[in-house]
Symmetry: C2
Subunit: 687 residues, 2 copies
């Protein structure tokens, strides 16, 4: 039982209404009176600000647009009406970090109209939770100008700001961020800098103030719109910078429409910040695909790591990885170890040339001659295994769209019910075939791409296929609405351990958890127990590789190393065999952004709990109350931990496995080596 409901209920009943400030035309409190949003009109100029426990968190920040042809929409505004509503609902996820999600917020809808011509009007909708806010613009059908262009907006810029409050005499907030606008993807090392050194960042952008408040800026429900980057304009003031379309404008929409939700998660601790990510899901629309119970969260193996080690190739030839014989070995390995999926990259024609950003040779409807996809599908099916499809587009996105219906139909016939897509093109951009046959190049997170991905997801859904997007657009919680969009990449994954310069450092996953993972699942492809890339070591201990299965959620979770490598570490591999890929509950037990995290999750289909802990380049000595376990019940804790002298650099293989009987009143010491981690399975005894 969480007491939140019973205790906080009182707040609502006894709440006094603080005085409204001068200039404030509307305001709304969160249900527990933690956050308050105030809307101001100063000389017709609209702004919002956020207070927490009465103290400023976001100072007055601009709202508005720069529109092509009709100029700025940010002044000469009047409040035309407002209303509020309260929601307290709980909904069930088909899969996710937790089965039940509570959506408890107060909503303010305020209508603004221009007091001069053309008299455009729109609503500002704010949803205020105790742990964050979301707001969006809803543009009325009458939002346009009179005449021919009335029905359309061409947005040159969205003027939304987030002015992070900074008290005098305190150090600036610390930011964890990756740069936006410089390259076409999200695969950077997270930087930790003072906020005042941020230039332009992707979201989620995570901050910690000098006073220990944690904030994350992101967006929810990015549909038919351009992704939002955050550009620092001065001090702690961030401004939305929309990814541009190839035509130069940022977004073009028919009226009426609404923008994605702009979100700010606000929490006292890093752990609570992660938990507040339910806000992003809550701001998305409910499932529109109907029953997607056909998607089964699962682990998979595949012909992949060998490609990054360059011992095998995607391309045809003597080292071609996707051969019938090789795939059979993986299917056998999967069947023997309980993995549902076998991914085979390089199974189809198109890999032999320069396909990077130029994937026009890819054929998604037939296999290479040395890969008998029919026979393999049957072979897999007899063993309870499913091939996982792979659609690398080389960013030839329109080329892919033209084939995808047929490709997904073929997949469905073969029992392939999950497909990994890929958009490798570095700086080139997504290929968009125009009506005249010419080609435009679009940003990975531009408006066109946002729609492309949904076309793929919907086409896949028609064949009951789940999508795992690599080099994707960022996650904005659309898995709620399209539950077959199950996971994606969207950050530096394990392959950077193979060849990255520099490789992923020990702090990488402790950064990811509190930044990238706020947006949703990631197909990080952990489990490289060989700890060896292409001439460079993986910068973790062995135990940390196991912990990643609990820390980094993905409903399609890979065991990424080679079968032969797992054979050399059967004691550790047992955890990978055991760990589920989906969860009924999640509790972040401890953590600091970029330093360490301890998370416990309960199996979606059983009573066992799993704990994962990872640290950065520093060892940690933590004590964790096991209060998440069912009271009165006993558990066998199967502990996979760093050896006493383990160290990511000096002794990464130092590893210990042991069992201990525990209950909910126990306090577990966690000793994480430098660059290390710990994984525990708590096997529930019969009650």
């Amino acid at each position: 039982m969480r007491l939140r409901s019973s205790l906080l209920l009182t707040f609502a009943l006894c709440a006094a209404v603080p005085a409204v400030r001068a200039g404030t035309v509307a305001s709304i409190d969160s249900p527990g009176k933690v956050l308050r949003v105030e809307l101001d009109l100063h000389e017709g100029r609209l702004g919002y600000r956020v207070r927490r426990f009465g103290e400023p968190v976001i100072d007055t920040s601009a709202l508005g647009f720069m529109l092509r042809g009709s100029g700025k929409l940010e002044r000469n505004l009047a409040l035309a009406g407002q209303d509020t509503r309260s929601v307290d609902a709980t909904w069930e996820q088909p899969w996710g970090e937790r089965r039940f999600v509570r959506d408890r917020h107060n909503e303010l809808r305020a209508t603004f109209t221009e007091t001069i011509a053309p008299g455009r009007s729109f609503d500002m909708v704010f949803r205020v939770f105790d742990d964050g806010i979301g707001f969006r613009y809803e543009i009325h059908a009458s939002g346009g100008e009179a005449g021919a262009s009335a029905a359309e907006w061409v947005i040159d810029d969205e003027l939304t700001e987030f002015a992070v409050h900074q008290p005098a005499d305190t150090a600036p907030p610390t930011a964890w961020w990756i740069p936006a606008g410089e390259w076409n993807r999200y695969e950077y090392l997270y930087q930790r800098t003072p906020l005042v050194e941020v230039t332009m960042a992707h979201t989620p952008l995570t901050l910690r103030t000098a006073d220990g408040l944690h904030l994350a800026f992101h967006e929810a429900a990015l549909v038919d719109y351009s992704g939002m980057w955050l550009r620092r304009v001065e001090g702690g003031r961030l401004r939305a910078q929309l990814a541009p379309a190839s035509e130069g404008w940022k977004v073009k929409r028919r009226l009426p429409f609404h923008t994605p939700w702009r979100t700010v998660q606000i929490a006292d601790t890093a752990a609570a910040l992660y938990e507040s990510s339910d806000l992003v899901l809550n701001l998305n629309e409910p499932n529109r695909l109907g029953d997607t119970g056909w998607f089964e969260p699962a682990k998979y193996v595949g012909i992949w790591w060998s490609l990054h080690l360059e011992t095998e190739t995607w391309a045809s030839g003597p080292k071609h990885g996707a051969t019938t014989a090789n795939a059979k070995r993986y299917i056998d390995f999967a069947a023997a170890n309980g993995f549902r999926g076998v991914l085979v990259e390089g199974w189809n024609p198109g890999w032999d040339g320069q396909w990077f950003g130029n994937g026009y040779d890819f054929d998604f409807t037939r296999a290479t001659p040395d890969f008998d996809i029919q026979a393999l599908s049957a072979y897999a099916g007899e063993r309870g295994v499913h091939l996982v499809g792979h659609h690398e587009t080389g960013c030839a996105a329109s080329h892919y769209e033209a084939q995808m219906a047929e490709a997904f139909a073929m997949n469905a016939r073969l029992g392939i019910d999950a497909v990994k897509t890929g958009y490798v093109c570095d700086a080139g951009g997504m290929e968009r075939r125009l009506a005249d046959g010419s080609i435009a190049r679009e940003w990975h997170d531009g408006q066109w791409s946002s729609n492309h991905h949904l076309r793929v997801v919907e086409a896949a859904a028609r064949q009951r296929i789940a999508i795992n997007t690599h080099e994707p657009i960022k996650d904005t919680g659309l898995r709620r609405t399209w539950p077959n969009w199950v996971t994606r990449e969207g950050a530096r994954g394990m392959e950077y351990g193979a060849w990255g310069q520099p490789p992923n450092p020990p702090e990488h996953e402790a950064n990811l958890f509190f930044t990238r993972m706020l947006s949703g699942p990631m197909d990080y492809t952990p489990g490289i127990l060989s700890l060896q890339g292409r001439g460079q070591p993986i910068e973790t201990t062995l135990a940390k590789q196991l912990a990643l299965y609990v820390v980094l959620y993905s409903p399609l979770q890979m065991a990424a190393d080679l079968p032969g490598h797992y054979a050399q570490h059967m004691d550790a591999f047992q955890f990978i065999r055991d760990v589920p890929a989906d969860w009924a509950e999640t509790r972040v037990l401890a953590g600091e952004v970029g330093d360490f995290v301890v998370v416990a999750r309960r199996d979606r289909t059983g009573d066992d709990w799993y704990l994962g802990a990872v640290t950065d380049e520093h060892g940690r000595l933590l004590e964790v109350p096991l209060s998440f376990l069912e009271p009165g019940r006993r558990y066998l804790a199967q502990v996979y931990r760093d050896g006493t002298d383990a160290h990511w650099r000096d002794a990464p293989f130092s590893f210990q496995r042991e069992s201990v009987e525990v209950g909910s009143a126990d306090i577990l010491p966690l000793r994480l080596a430098a660059g290390g981690g710990q994984a525990i399975r708590f096997v529930a005894r019969e009650p």
Copy 2:
């Protein structure tokens, strides 16, 4: 059950021994192989360093002395021998934050001898715990020079250093500190600055590195030695600066002798840093007073706050507070509400002149004419109440020593078994009467004062009296050895809320908890429910005043407000009536230095748990697992919390009391207002 023992046992069995570095002549690991101390000799110069999980925490730091007459003792040293031992013991405290204390450490004793004349020799003794280290110098009888002065050292400086490691490209550690050497006491607001802005600081000095490691520097068992200040000499390098004696040297000792322990507590979280304070107690000698069961931890009230409000006076006259009639009222109030003690300040002659730093008129053996101490003692005794004695010395310390035996004997006859002492003298210093009758002035934390306080404590112990020292020398854990030295001041207390300029700010107690409170109990005198000082407000909410009873441990704990004020807040006052003054267990559930803290403690004499949470000027929304409760048992949580619109500045009296049934599996939401807090009593149901 804490699993530490069972799981960590394995470490000891399978530990590999890392290679010893060049120059390292001795080293020792902590029992769980978390910390390692290495001793170096470079060209005969001795240094130590500390690693944690293999990474540097304290870089090579100097050890040695500057001795009067014989110069530096820090070069030309050779290792003459070394041995190690392991300790894992548990001892029981007569009172304290927890009943049982575990002492688990490895000890290294290394003997060094000068290779040139005069050939002095000493041992370096390091005790290495998993959460900190202590080390001291043990000077041999042969440590002195040949000849007349062989038997004595006059120490001009101790050269001990603590070189805080700072990785390249990281921000400097943050320090929470008060200045040393500028004034004679510890009553400053804690500053939060980069370590590189520390000048000279008192201990405990608390640091947090950019990577989230928490450190605290202090000393243990300060006996017949001068208190250690920490002077920053360059970068992150701190050097011991001993408080000087009036003669100009710092310490004068006969040989053999040993220094106090120099301590470094090291933990990953602020919560663990507080818990690591057991290290200071563990480094003190066991109880040497025998059974001190006659001391009963208890709450007290008294004639005190009215003096700070200036509605009554210490001095005689029409507003004299310490009158028989007034004291009777307090005794009645104490008896009616279950308080054991009644403190009466101003009960004795000596207050009428300028007594600040000039307390020669104080008489500790008789009361003023309007205070019938005999009758009041009897009146109290009939009601189960004890008067609490008060010995303000005005720093006339020798003057006090001359009377104290008689004074304590009188106290004992009157049932007065606890005495609050005071040393108010600001910059003047402690009066020390020399043999020739002349007077010297000594620092509060100089060698002479360290001995004065122990003479007082021992004289009191002979009469079975407990001592509560105000304007004291700092706490270094001597309560273990002298268990009647039960509490003290030694920081800015509640009276600064009455008249301090500036007053104690909202962050004050969140600073104290992770700095001053690392050293031991503090008589902070909380519970000012009127929230009003002398023309200035107390900068907390009402609920926070209650929380302080759990957060700030003192086995003599005052309910400091006026009885009439409590009558106006009977709902809140109930918590002060209920809360015990001593604990069986303590768990720090959450916290950040200077920001907030949540602590749970179990009654030493019962099954009830109490929770206290305080925050700084920022409101907090926290979730606290109640896993400290006994599994399977039900508790009635009596919650005293901030009202929904509470704010220390705008609405400090907004307050809510409610009850809810809970168990160990529940997660409690804590909503702390800006400058607020929360207090909870968990009343155990019958099992």
